[in-house]
């Protein structure tokens, strides 16, 4: 930094580029190339992992290199890939054509609100693809090129796609505000698919996907490890409640197959949620089984391409068929429910070997899941509470004053809005809503979904999560909220880091953890701590 002259002092002692991500300011967006530097990109996928997936162009490379070692004829590969997808997915064709650039979405994206980068305005992110579409697939674009908003596929465009398709969490908040219903998440999905055709992808997504393909879960856990880990958690439950629970694994003939994210068995704070599930099933005597094969609710195929999504999803039905269960119960996961609710039936259905889910405890038939045969744990739990089947003591959560974070996918992709709130009403003495334009359908993303929850972009995550954190801060100050509760494994992981930075006195819990705390089990000993071994209110001494 040079010392400025006296006449320059009025301007600014520190000269910096604009806050457009790694870019130089004050040019038309098309003429504004991206610049990759440590901290603004996710690390690329390892060569061995790309080879494992049998994806094209495995190699060692870095986004900071000028030469990305793209295959010969890569432009044609991309354009042919786009053509194929325009023919295959009518939604893509419609989304490319109908945007009138009204701007309703512009200030709704958490990435835009947290970074201030105009290319994170959903309309402009989509324009990154639309401009190439116009250039090569519309008459106006073919004739007029840039005048018609078109531009040819170049390395600079490709790099831009990589930058901004990994600064979108596919949360779909923008779609709520789009008068035409354009689902910008699907534009991001297609951008990522196209990038994979030339070997451009991130390790944080492809390696867990490889693990999931190999062992059935992101963590790469093998059957005995899953079982052992769950066993340690059952030891903790026994210490806390005096009740010994023996989870059922891979049991043929069980009524229900329970599938949840593998992080629930392995990583804090998900493990407390897992303990909550187990207490609940024991409490009601559910005839269930876990599976060491379908041991992952999450599906990083959704963040990769439709073929991998289908493949990873298929194991759920395959395992349900193998075990001969009647229906599937799903745990607290985010994007699992988007895959399930919007794609599973088309990809791997119909699951006509399963029955329409019916709660064996309340006899409630879940008509909403008549096609997919899979019920969300919150729907299931809310129904149990509604029918007075649970003995609950909300005072055991008196040390917690939660607010509710609507996880994007359960909220916007499957409409799970009221069930979690109904459960909260019954398992905690009091809880508070965040402001209206930050909850329910308008909920703000955690900022790190779709495989962006990796450490190398921590600052970026703190920016993209700012709109959510800002609302949490508000209820912390106004109501003394100390807990951020949600139903998503990625949320539980990423919100933990987010609140550690923005609101350090707030901690993150799953909803079933709070249910587990409140459940009065038959034959239990007096509880002195919650499932985290933190003393209950009045038991601090």
């Amino acid at each position: 930094m040079a010392i400025p002259k006296a006449e320059e002092l009025g301007v600014n002692v520190a000269r910096e580029p604009s806050l457009m991500t790694g870019a130089i300011p004050k040019k038309e967006w098309m003429d504004n190339p991206v610049e990759f530097k440590e901290g603004n990109f996710c690390y690329p996928a390892k060569q061995s992992i790309v080879e494992y997936h049998k994806f094209p162009n495995p190699r060692e490379w870095s986004p900071t290199d000028d030469d990305w070692k793209l295959p010969d004829g890569w432009e044609d590969i991309i354009l042919n890939g786009l053509k194929e997808r325009l023919d295959k997915f009518r939604s893509l064709k419609v989304f490319m054509d109908i945007c009138v650039r009204c701007g309703a979405c512009a200030d709704k994206c958490h990435f835009f609100l947290g970074t201030g980068d105009p290319k994170n305005m959903p309309v402009l992110r989509a324009e990154l693809l639309r401009s190439v579409y116009r250039n090569d697939f519309t008459t106006a674009g073919k004739l007029l090129g840039k005048l018609a908003g078109g531009r040819p596929m170049t390395v600079a465009v490709l790099k831009e796609w990589f930058m901004y398709s990994y600064q979108c969490t596919e949360c779909r908040r923008c779609s709520v505000f789009c008068p035409y219903g354009i689902d910008t998440a699907e534009v991001t999905i297609i951008l990522r698919e196209l990038l994979h055709l030339v070997g451009v992808g991130t390790n944080w997504i492809l390696e867990p996907a490889a693990n999931s393909n190999r062992t059935g879960n992101h963590m790469g856990l093998q059957p005995h490890t899953l079982k052992d880990n769950a066993g340690y958690l059952m030891d903790d439950i026994e210490d806390i409640t005096g009740i010994r629970i023996n989870p059922s694994w891979n049991r043929k003939g069980a009524e229900v197959l329970f599938i949840t994210p593998s992080a629930d068995v392995f990583a804090e704070p998900g493990i407390y949620t897992f303990m909550g599930y187990m207490l609940l099933f024991e409490h009601i005597g559910l005839d269930y089984t876990l599976s060491t094969y379908a041991s992952e609710g999450g599906n990083f195929g959704l963040f990769t391409n439709n073929e991998l999504m289908k493949k990873l999803n298929a194991k759920m039905y395959a395992e349900a068929k193998r075990l001969g269960v009647k229906w599937i119960l799903g745990g607290e996961c985010g994007h699992m429910w988007r895959v399930l609710h919007q794609y599973m039936d088309t990809m791997n259905g119909p699951a006509d070997f399963l029955e329409v889910p019916k709660s064996p405890i309340t006899n409630t038939v879940f008509e909403n899941a008549a096609s997919t045969k899979m019920v969300h744990i919150s729907e299931f739990t809310a129904d149990l509470i509604k029918n007075n089947k649970l003995k609950l003591d909300p005072m055991r959560n008196a040390h917690r004053t939660p607010t509710w974070h609507d996880s994007c996918n359960p909220a916007r992709a499957m409409g799970l809005l009221d069930e979690p709130r109904y459960i909260l009403d019954h398992v905690v003495p009091k809880w508070y809503e965040m402001p209206e334009n930050t909850i329910r359908e308008k909920t703000f993303c955690c900022g790190s979904g779709t495989g962006l929850n990796t450490g190398e972009i921590m600052e970026l995550r703190m920016r993209s999560g700012l709109p959510r954190a800002n609302a949490v801060k508000h209820v912390e100050e106004k109501f003394g909220v100390n807990t951020l509760s949600c139903v998503c494994a990625i949320d539980r992981a990423t919100l933990t880091a987010l609140v550690d930075y923005w609101t350090p006195n707030v901690s993150v819990t799953g909803l079933s953890e709070l249910v587990g705390n409140a459940l009065i089990m038959d034959g239990e000993k007096e509880r002195e701590t919650d499932l985290r071994f933190a003393p209950l209110e009045g038991m601090e001494g």
């Binding site: 806050l19 880990n229 334009n437 609302a471 350090p504």
Partner: protein, 177 residues
């Protein structure tokens, strides 16, 4: 600083704050600047809100002659934001010094010469505040490193370790045995 100078500052408070906001928000592209400057709902515009409220708190501290603490809640939020933006440390805190030029322009030369002793005192307060803000910036960076460290310790990166977690666990158990 005398009461008269303070009064002059407070008379121009609105104009000074608006120009001061622009020095930070003006770093964004025009489309973003317009939204961040105009949208008053803090939940629809957290950056604009943090800039606005943080600067106002600091201005209130600087424009009163008391020894009030620079570290105030909304200013802290603004500095936390600066600490995670893609900018250098010097740039993150440089906005404090820019207040000098903004006040010079708003109060005009006549007032400057009439109140030069007050002006010197005011500038000294800005310099002291800049140091305090730099401490706040560093504290936020430290906190961010702790967040990174805590996340690493939580072991989520195991999903990209390329190793077999079952084998790792077996190794650990053997070590313990």
């Amino acid at each position: 600083m005398g009461n008269e100078f303070e009064n002059l500052l407070n008379e121009k408070k609105k104009e000074i704050l608006s120009a001061w906001e622009d020095t930070i928000l003006g770093k964004f592209e025009k489309d973003a600047f317009i939204i961040f400057k105009q949208q008053k709902d803090q939940f629809a515009n957290p950056i604009g809100h943090k800039v606005r409220t943080g600067l106002e708190e600091l201005f209130n501290v600087l424009s009163e002659s008391s020894n009030r603490e620079v570290r105030t809640p909304n200013l802290e939020e603004l500095i936390k934001l600066r600490a995670v933006q893609d900018i250098s440390a010097s740039n993150a805190v440089s906005f404090v010094f820019q207040l000098k030029d903004i006040v010079r322009k708003e109060l005009q030369i006549k007032d400057m010469t009439n109140y030069y002793k007050d002006w010197l005192a005011f500038e000294a307060r800005i310099d002291a505040a800049a140091l305090a803000v730099f401490d706040m910036y560093m504290a936020s960076r430290e906190q961010l490193h702790k967040v990174r460290y805590t996340e690493l310790q939580a072991g989520r990166d195991i999903i990209t370790k390329g190793g077999c977690p079952s084998a790792l666990m077996r190794q650990e158990q053997n070590k313990k045995a």
